[in-house]
């Protein structure tokens, strides 16, 4: 039975909606956080990986003798050495048409990308391990490599995984998903508008790289792995099955995580190797990747090509859209299946458009690049593609881009309705966010200033785009995506001191769960905020939950789970108090941590908890009456709805884009902590800006990674990110448990706004862009071309 149907219940406290400073902040600013590399163990060995310098090569020989003889070295392990200890990596799925190779954790016969791990060296210090790693002699015979999506789609391209017979690892088995009368739409169209979008390979790039600390107890046969990751249970699951251990013999602990953004959702091959090495050596093993390793091998995302055509009327109404996305998986699959990411694009691209017919096709190709790890809003190219298509329509029909969006976005009066793909659209407020944004912008004044600037050689532009994210949407969206939303487990327990522990199976990386989830519990249970402790990231404390901290799921799912569990616990506690104090249970109320009894006396929850735990012989109830476990299934949800506006100033001589201002107007239902919501959106927007203007996992034509440090992989700084104003449409929803996710939306929506703003600034030059990022050389070329720059560089995107 789903939870959360009906009107919002009145919460008792005042925590929900309060911009309370985060409980985690004190340890953050005092350097007292516990990140993975802050931990060590006695007799710990340090590991360093030897990685392929080639994009694609056959391994002819691995010589480790010299390395083994180096000071402090305790082991030098190859794939062959660990063959009996690690099962081939298997991320196969039941998705029809998805072709998944099995491959060794350490490359054995062949390397498939620059950074592919080949050997692990274990030594008494990291420096000794690194010295020895430099002495490992791997002989390679280079093979031709394939890098870009178009090259990899070519059947004659060099095949990465022979058993797959080609590099196309997923081609939609339906050939094309068709919704509505697409062909009819194209027949009736006044105009057919085509657009292409290419987003470059980039990704989460958290400041804390990957790493882990593994220890294996030979006495009990138990593996303990402290790791920086997004789901303790997913890591445990993958470790157990690849290392041949019982689930219950694997304990995964995730402490403070120094950023993740999706990039730490899948287990890495190195995690499995480090744990196997700890078992092999009988000593704890620490792994801390350096920045070059992170950029070469920690994965990258967003290398997507989308080709679209739209059937439109002369006025700009949409009759049908066809889209084909091609995604570049890189060399190996991860635990996050690429077809599911492509399906995110399919099921969100039509968004809140009034669009009667839609056809979609997805292709995924393998290439000699680092694997595609998920990145904040994995299907983000849907918003970029849709908004670029609308921009192309506006351009070809000579319509104002904002007027086109006002014309094509559904209104409140039309709801409930459904997306072309079948998902329910109800309480969608994209139109309201657009109206609110327009109110704040004063476009006529901006247009006048813009034209004035041209005479002075000043080129400024504004971009206004919208997005709709399924965080959490409704059940039929999940159905259209291909999988139902995983129910989320939570446990609440009152301890002997009357304090409440909230055990969740999330592994946050800065979202503030310890604060926001305690706010929920405090209000719903009616106890003081300080009486609640939220426990995360421990496979032995939180119940099994594969998904972890992912998909903007914390607000819609975890907060919902805690709300329902806390309401139940409150009833249970009131009944327990009635039994203990010998009064009628209807008359007992828990308020702010105290039971108010029928005669008006107040008894602290602590007193009851003490008696139940410490004098169970005198207690008519047991400690299990002070606990609740609940698996939360979402009832009706809602969509995260937003409009973003970006102001850009382009130096047409240098090609440099400077962003002046950014505005995001959004609706996330009921806010738990407005400061956290604002921070999530601002941080997401900054990443979207990085993707639009700066960031790229760039490869040379021979497949070597070019951007191996942060001098070359450019992250936006305080001077590149403009002030970001966040406007909440409403602070609270009338619907119960209407907490919608905000983690991904900012990152998803920002890039499209930036590109439109730059094109708007360059309107006098007619510059158009179909490829990101908009670095100075690309901007100058677009200005020089006085037209589109499609296909001006090779497919490698370097």
């Amino acid at each position: 039975m789903p939870d959360g149907i009906g009107e919002r219940t009145t919460t008792i406290g005042a925590e929900i909606g309060r911009a309370r400073p985060r409980g985690e902040a004190r340890r953050a600013v005092r350097g007292e956080g516990g990140y993975v590399d802050d931990h060590g163990l006695p007799r710990m060995l340090h590991s360093v990986f030897v990685r392929s310098p080639h994009a694609h090569a056959r391994i002819e020989r691995i010589e480790t003798t010299a390395a083994r003889a180096m000071p402090g070295v305790r082991a030098v392990l190859t794939g062959a050495d660990l063959r009996d200890e690690i099962a081939p990596i298997d991320f196969s799925t039941d998705i029809v048409g998805h072709r998944v190779p099995r491959f060794p954790a350490l490359a054995e016969e062949r390397v498939r990308f620059d950074g592919d791990p080949v050997v692990v060296v274990l030594a008494e210090s990291r420096a000794q391990a690194a010295d020895a790693a430099a002495r490992v002699d791997v002989r390679y015979a280079a093979l031709p490599c394939v890098l870009g999506v178009e090259d990899a789609s070519d059947p004659s391209s060099p095949v990465l995984h022979a058993e797959l017979g080609g590099n196309v690892v997923y081609d939609d088995p339906h050939d094309e998903h068709v919704y509505g009368d697409v062909d009819g739409g194209f027949r009736r169209a006044d105009r057919i508008v085509r657009a292409t979008v290419r987003s470059q390979r980039h990704g989460g790039v958290p400041l804390e790289g990957r790493g882990g600390l593994a220890s294996f107890d030979r006495g009990t046969g138990e593996l303990r792995y402290r790791v920086t990751a997004q789901s303790a249970h997913s890591v445990r699951h993958q470790l157990a099955r690849h290392l041949g251990l019982d689930h219950q013999a694997v304990h995964v602990v995730i402490g403070d995580v120094g950023g993740a953004f999706g990039s730490k959702w899948s287990i890495s091959r190195e995690d499995i190797v480090v744990c196997a090495a700890a078992r092999h050596c009988g000593r704890p093993v620490r792994w801390t990747e350096d920045r070059a390793e992170a950029l070469r091998s920690a994965g990258s995302a967003r290398e997507d090509l989308v080709r679209m055509e739209a059937a439109v009327t002369a006025e700009g109404d949409l009759l049908a859209v066809r889209a084909h996305v091609v995604m570049n998986q890189g060399a190996y699959p991860t635990a996050a299946p690429m077809p599911a990411i492509a399906d995110l694009v399919r099921t969100t691209l039509p968004a809140a458009l009034r669009l009667p017919a839609f056809a979609f096709r997805a292709t995924v190709v393998a290439s000699n690049k680092s694997p595609y790890f998920t990145y904040r809003g994995p299907g983000a190219v849907e918003t970029l593609a849709r908004e670029r298509l609308l921009d192309a329509i506006a351009h070809e029909l000579d319509l104002d881009p904002v007027a086109l969006r006002l014309r094509t976005t559904i209104t409140a009066a039309e709801q409930p309705t459904s997306m072309a793909t079948g998902a329910t659209l109800d309480r969608v407020t994209v139109r309201e966010t657009l109206d609110r944004a327009i109110e704040r912008i004063d476009l006529p004044a901006f247009r006048a200033q813009q034209r004035d600037g041209w005479s002075r050689g000043e080129y400024r532009g504004v971009g206004i785009v919208t997005s709709l994210q399924p965080n959490p949407a409704f059940a039929d969206w999940w159905q259209s995506w291909g999988s139902m939303q995983e129910p989320e487990p939570v446990r609440l327990a009152v301890g002997p001191d009357g304090r409440v522990t909230v055990l969740i199976s999330q592994a946050p990386s800065g979202q503030g769960h310890e604060t926001t989830m305690a706010q929920i519990c405090a209000d719903e249970l009616s106890v003081p905020f300080d009486a609640v402790r939220v426990v995360t990231g421990d496979s032995d404390r939180g119940a099994f939950f594969f998904f972890g901290t992912s998909g903007s799921g914390n607000a819609p799912m975890t907060a919902g789970a805690i709300s329902v569990a806390a309401r139940r616990l409150r009833e249970q506690l009131e009944q327990a108090a009635a039994a203990v104090y010998g009064v009628a249970s209807e008359g007992v109320r828990l308020r702010d941590g105290r039971f108010v009894l029928p005669d008006g006396t107040a008894v602290p929850l602590r007193e009851l908890a003490e008696q139940v735990h410490l004098r169970p012989d005198r207690s008519p109830v047991s400690l299990f009456d002070l606990e609740v476990a609940h698996s939360f299934r979402r009832g009706p949800g809602g969509w995260w709805c937003a409009t973003a506006a970006c102001w850009a100033d382009v130096d047409v001589e240098l090609g440099v884009v400077r962003l002046e201002r950014f505005l995001i107007v959004h609706d996330c239902g009921t806010m738990i902590n407005p400061a956290v919501v604002r921070g999530q959106l601002q941080g997401g927007v900054a990443q979207g800006i990085g993707g639009a203007l700066y960031e790229e996992h760039a490869y040379a034509a021979d497949g070597r990674m070019v951007a191996t440090d942060l001098h070359d992989y450019l992250l936006p700084r305080a001077t590149e990110v403009p002030p970001i104003e966040v406007v909440h449409l409403d602070a609270a929803s009338p619907v119960d448990l209407d907490f919608r996710g905000v983690g991904e939306g900012g990152a998803v929506i920002a890039s499209a706004a930036v590109v439109q703003a730059v094109e708007d600034a360059l309107r006098p030059f007619g510059a158009r862009f179909d490829r990101l990022p908009l670095r100075p050389e690309r901007v100058r070329a677009a200005i020089a071309a006085r037209g589109t720059v499609e296909g001006q560089t090779g497919d490698e995107g370097a």
Binding site: A19, P21, R22, E24, A25, R26, R27, A28, V29, R30, G31, E32, G33, Y35, D37, D38, A127, G204, V205, P206, L207, E208, G209, D256, V257, G258, G259, A260, F261, D290, R291, A292, S509, G510, Q511, G512, A675, V676, R678, G679, Q680, Q682, G683, G684, V685, A686, Q687, D709, L710, H711, L715, R717, A718, T719, E720, V721, P723, I724, E725, G746
Partner: protein, 169 residues
Amino acid sequence: MASRTTHFACNGESVAITVDPRTTAAEAIREQLGLTGTHVACQTGVCGTCTVLVDGEPVRSCLMLAVQLDGSTVTTVEGVGADHADGLHPVQRAFVEHHSFQCGFCAPGFVLSTVALLEGDEPLDREVIRDALADNLCRCTGYQAIVDGATAAAERLGRLDPPAGGVDA
């Protein structure tokens, strides 16, 4: 190479460490002094995450050798709030109040860079503060909350007049 012994003061205590000469200051502070609040993120001096104060000046400890600390006075994030009520320097307090961090990994570097800026004598305005904060990278916040926190701390320390109309939007 032979190990070398280096003497310096760290967070008010005199310390002596014996290191392989290639050991960076960041490694020595983390591994030998056990002060793990100094985080390392890029190893090439780009991100400022590993910033510590050496004789009051902000230094990227990933680019400095431990032996270069000899005779100096080092302040790490663990020590910067020691003389203040509740163990929080006004910069740390403002950062807590303004949600200036999310994952917290960059926080120690931002704290020390900002302390150095505010305890220096460069004339400040909001533009100068934003420019100065561009010495460090944050991947989570989009910087607005850090700019807000640093600005509030500057006002509290009398280094900046409160705004006539609203904070830096």
